[in-house]
């Protein structure tokens, strides 16, 4: 099955570490796959996935509520789809999204803003 | 005197019967198309039901002036048909038809919708494409029979097709544009499955759209009349030959519609002018040389 390679970025080293890692991956020829955002009690857990020769490499870090992160559209432009989605659904501030692909919250048309921002209530229903 | 009465009767018959026959032709068209696509198809009278349904619908118009222009379109199509069937002047018929399509184009421009604007531009390009050919039909008959008058053409000493095969082929080519069938249905297709939604007539609704449908039937009948013109002469039985030719050409248009996709306006302009030049113009040159 695909590699479960996960590299965690420490809190004090963002955003420079994130951009550095992503730049390394781009230089090595990795393809951007996706960005996943999960609401956890500490805030938001972001996972960036890249692929080369069918092997996945994932970057992981946790943001506190309200903390922002720099966009990687400067390196991988197609990331704007995932980043706009995370911004619209979770309300995570993403800074410096490239010109022309920053939809300012209007990419995903929703009835209520940032519906997935809050912690899920309860477990089994 | 009886000639005049005859022509007048034909004119009135056209006014009353053309929408009926046109609607039935449209119904046949839909059934034949459906059978070619391995479907059953709607009932034969479906176009009539559709037009009646349209007249009952609420009309939502951005700019009410479009009703005036669409009315103009219907009026000029009827007038050119009347000129044709009362055996008037063929050149006048062609020009009145042009006036009708200009009315439709202005009607489409009058609403601000981007779809009808682009549809109107495409309609203009289409008009540019087929106008030369229609004029060549008129000029061809003049060169072959020495007159523009329809009554003399229809009682000529030989069928027009013998002298004007190239012109006839050119006419059949551009009929696809007038009938709004693939590959030439850029501006206004029978189906709304195109990027312009319904193109020129996107913003028409209710009675206005019903008027466009009925005008389309009038137009179809008298365009088939053009085809008929090539196959009649003074012999009485040539009427049957003319009707047969109309049926064959109509079926051919449906066949081509089901075998082609829609082409872009650049290809339309190029191919129509090429066909007009090669088939039509060379035919005219030969006729002029023979005189």
């Amino acid at each position: 099955m695909s590699s479960q390679d996960l590299v965690t970025i420490k809190p004090e080293n963002r955003p420079t570490d994130l951009l550095q890692e992503v730049e390394n991956l781009k230089f090595q020829g990795y393809r951007f796959v996706q960005i996943c955002c999960t609401r956890v009690p500490e805030g938001f857990e972001l996972t960036y996935s890249f692929d080369k020769n069918y092997e996945l490499k994932n970057l992981r870090f946790t943001l506190a509520d309200g903390e922002g992160i720099t966009s990687i559209t400067s390196l991988y432009l197609p990331a704007f789809v995932c980043e706009n989605e995370i911004h619209d659904l979770f309300g995570v501030p993403i800074n410096h999204i490239a010109k022309g692909v920053d939809f300012g919250g209007k990419f995903f048309r929703l009835a209520e803003k940032t519906p997935w921002h809050d912690l899920p209530k309860g477990g089994a229903h | 005197m009886s000639e005049l009465m005859n022509n007048l009767l034909f004119g009135i018959a056209y006014l009353i019967l053309a929408p009926v026959v046109g609607g039935l032709l449209a119904g046949c068209d839909r059934i034949i198309t459906a059978r070619m696509q391995r479907r059953v198809g709607p009932p034969l009278l479906q176009p009539f039901y559709d037009v009646l349904k349209l007249t009952e619908k609420q009309e939502i118009a951005v700019n009410l002036i479009q009703d005036f222009y669409v009315g103009g379109f219907l009026l000029f199509v009827m007038i050119s048909g009347i000129f044709f069937f009362t055996r008037g002047d063929i050149l006048l018929v062609v020009f009145t038809l042009t006036l009708a399509s200009v009315c439709l184009i202005v009607a489409a421009y009058s609403s601000n919708s981007p779809y009808s604007q682009i549809g109107a531009e495409r309609e203009l390009i289409q008009t540019m494409s087929y106008e030369p050919m229609l004029l060549m039909v008129a000029i061809g008959f003049y060169l072959a029979t020495g007159t523009f008058s329809l009554s003399e053409i229809m009682h000529g000493h030989a069928a027009g097709i013998i002298f004007l095969p190239g012109v006839f082929l050119g006419l059949v080519y551009i009929l696809g544009i007038k009938f709004r069938k693939s590959p030439f249905d850029l501006a206004m297709s029978h189906h709304a499955h195109q990027e312009l939604i319904k193109g020129t007539v996107t913003e028409f609704s209710g009675k206005t759209l019903a008027m466009v449908e009925v005008a389309h039937w009038y137009e179809n009948i008298f365009l088939l009349g053009f085809v008929y013109l090539f196959f009649v002469w003074s012999a009485g039985w040539s009427i049957l030959l003319g009707l047969l030719a109309c049926a064959v050409v109509f079926f051919f248009e449906i066949l081509v519609d089901n075998c082609c996709s829609r082409i872009k306006w650049q290809a339309l302009l190029k191919s129509t002018w090429l066909v007009s030049l090669v088939a039509g113009f060379i035919n005219l040159l030969i006729l002029m040389y023979m005189r």
């Binding site: 393809r31 048309r109 | 198309t33 981007p114 499955h193």
Partner: protein
Amino acid sequence: MGKHTVVPFGPQHPVLPEPIHLDLELDDEKVVRAIPSIGYIHRGLEKLVEKREFKEYVFIAERICGICAFGHGWGYCKSVEGLMNIEIPLRAKYLRTIWHELSRIHSHLLWLGLMADGMGFESLFMHSWRLREKVLDIFEKTTGGRVIFSACKIGGVRRDIEDSELHGIAEILRGMRDEVREITDIFFKEPTSVSRLKDVGILSKEAAVATCAVGPMVRASGIPLDYRVADTSGVYRELNFTPVTTDTCDCYGRCWVRVQEIFASLDMICQAIEKIPAGDIAVPVKGNPNGEYFARLEQPRGEAFYYVKGNNTTHLTRFRVRTPTNMNLPAMVEALKGCDYADVPMIVLTIDPCISCTER
């Protein structure tokens, strides 16, 4: 200096199969820029995973999309099985591969029909879908459903296909080859269709890499990216499989790639039917998912990515799907720049948009 207009394209548009909204900035009839926006059918299915037990959720995962339904069901099951270290029986793997390849055939035939319709060739559209009915009839005979048929479950598949029926299916598919060839030849040989497809929606190899496109979109630009090469959850290793590529980089190339994939899938299913072993079709599932897992699958539209996270309860905490259309949207926006307005439906259709997948 041409006339500058902004044409709203979608979400309700007769030529579009999916509700995506594009604001097209036109200069006369040339598109200068396309600005997409989505969200018309967002159902929040990813959030629903918190409210449904992980064994039941497969039915919701399938309903992410009607066309790629089986693929999503398999992707979800695959990721949970990877998370819980469940090894499914070989017969189940074969059955899943057979159904998935049938899904691919039906999806590509559907797409061919839509492409013909977008070109204005309605009768070809009707004929393509008539062929597709044969595949849907197979689905109905084997699973009871035509579009969403809930064949996957965690641990295997829910239904078996008798061997006699499998041979019947192989016969039907062998008979389909000639009919498919007859219909698809029209796309490649009929002059008006070729003129609408050739040199339309060009996405060069560099642009394909830069926009990180997936699926036939990128395979038509010469890049052999197909996850089935590395997929071990299906039986692609035992079947002769090579990615189909071409390097025309235009709509014609993508059409060609999808048509070749139909033939390849027909072959693979017949091979699988010959090699399928007897055995169980499912294993029991004990315990709860704990931890996280990444899985991928090659759907008809491209590579789909699945991520699950569990915390040892009956409900997963996160399920994330990144669908191929999600990844192809930037490629589409790139290909739309500088095209004719008449080509817009071709280019939108060429990525095989599945917006219900994109928005979940």
